[in-house]
Symmetry: C2
Subunit: 238 residues, 2 copies
Amino acid sequence: MFDIFLRKLRSHSMLTTEDQRLLASLPHQMRRLSPNDYILREGDQATQCPILLSGIAFRQKHVADGGRQIVSVKLPGDPLDFQSLYLATADHSLQALTAVDLAVLPLAALEQLVAARSNIARSVLVDILVEASIGREWQLNIGRRNALERLAHFLCEFDYRMRLTVRGLDEAIEIPMTQEQLADLLGLTPVHINRTVKTLVERGALSRHGRRVRIADIACLHRIAGFSPRYLHSGAGG
Amino acid sequence: MFDIFLRKLRSHSMLTTEDQRLLASLPHQMRRLSPNDYILREGDQATQCPILLSGIAFRQKHVADGGRQIVSVKLPGDPLDFQSLYLATADHSLQALTAVDLAVLPLAALEQLVAARSNIARSVLVDILVEASIGREWQLNIGRRNALERLAHFLCEFDYRMRLTVRGLDEAIEIPMTQEQLADLLGLTPVHINRTVKTLVERGALSRHGRRVRIADIACLHRIAGFSPRYLHSGAGG
DNA sequence: CGATGTGTTGAGCAAAATCAATGGGTGTGG
DNA sequence: CCACACCCATTGATTTTGCTCAACACATCG
């Protein structure tokens, strides 16, 4: 059940069998949330560390006048809040995008394990650093690419990261976000996302199945976005 | 000489006198670089950790067609590459913006100290996390604020962070970036930055002294930007 | 004193936002 | 099983923000 979490850590860090056994035997509690449920709110003092076992979640921040920016998307296997091991108050909110299954670990237990096993400490750190690297790529994406490239780039990353941890994804990946969420992700408006999706469908990069949209031609998306996965640091060992 | 570095770490983490003594007695080499000199290039394998003692540096990333985005600005006292303790290859470049003085530490020595002193390990982590938090705020800034708010917000952060570590800043802070650099920082064009600066001067938030621009009314900037420093996590202790 | 890099300004343009209306699924409750 | 409500997607018309292009000014430095 923790398998997907261990697979995520192993995608960037070396862990011994013993490390993995210790991680898998951490005390925890299972929780299922519905779309849009909050996992953590800005200003909260977390005492637990949720791990995302299935479904998708995201981090978001707001500006005074109500606009929001989704600053990170978390996929199955991703730890959701290693940050609270070290920072007292949350600087952003964390919310479920789809229905999600979480394994919730007490911070204290995780802290002990991190103190005892340097491999695990390192994997926590690398996970934090990879997320920061993704954030920088998003800065570049939002700041310097036009709408078409921006959407294409995000979808390349989504596809790449999904295939890193989720098993049995031979077929085309379906995009689970609403167009409004994509807009908040990319610093655009929903209307413009709608038109940009349409263009990507016309170019054959995406395909429609009723209201659902799938990635039809990942190579085409890569070409449009100028995608290169270096920033994801996914060669095991960091 | 390391004082400013220790002050930076103490701005977010608790360090004992002994921790500070150990940090200050790390082996190191002084280096002075000129504006635009590279400190680290994307793809490099770092073996040293530079600490910025004076001057300003920045991280940047490029898109295929030549556009660049400055994804982080580093101020006196900031460690420049803790990341290389844990990740093999750099995912961005690091460059001097002004003339800079660096203390360059061998990674191995720093690694040993981090392994030996949990306080220091924690301060390294918190420093990494605070930078990530700043990155998220920049995502929000670039994605959801207009040019005026965006520039104002960046300048608020610049002022705030400068006062955190640099001594003797009673007077108004001067903006050391060219308008082109500000453009690459904020996802705008130099021409538009020029007009936006003009507006901030008209509103009394900035003042001109020849070609130099200073922050004249920080409260006014705060108002325009809707600035709140929570994301900087600068209460000592994280 | 000329070269260069940076700042400034104007005119026109393009990308994306805004406003507004419509349509289509889905799910719920009568 | 149908009707309604709601959310989301879609489309068109119009406006706005910021970009592009181009010329020029000014300061600094060799």
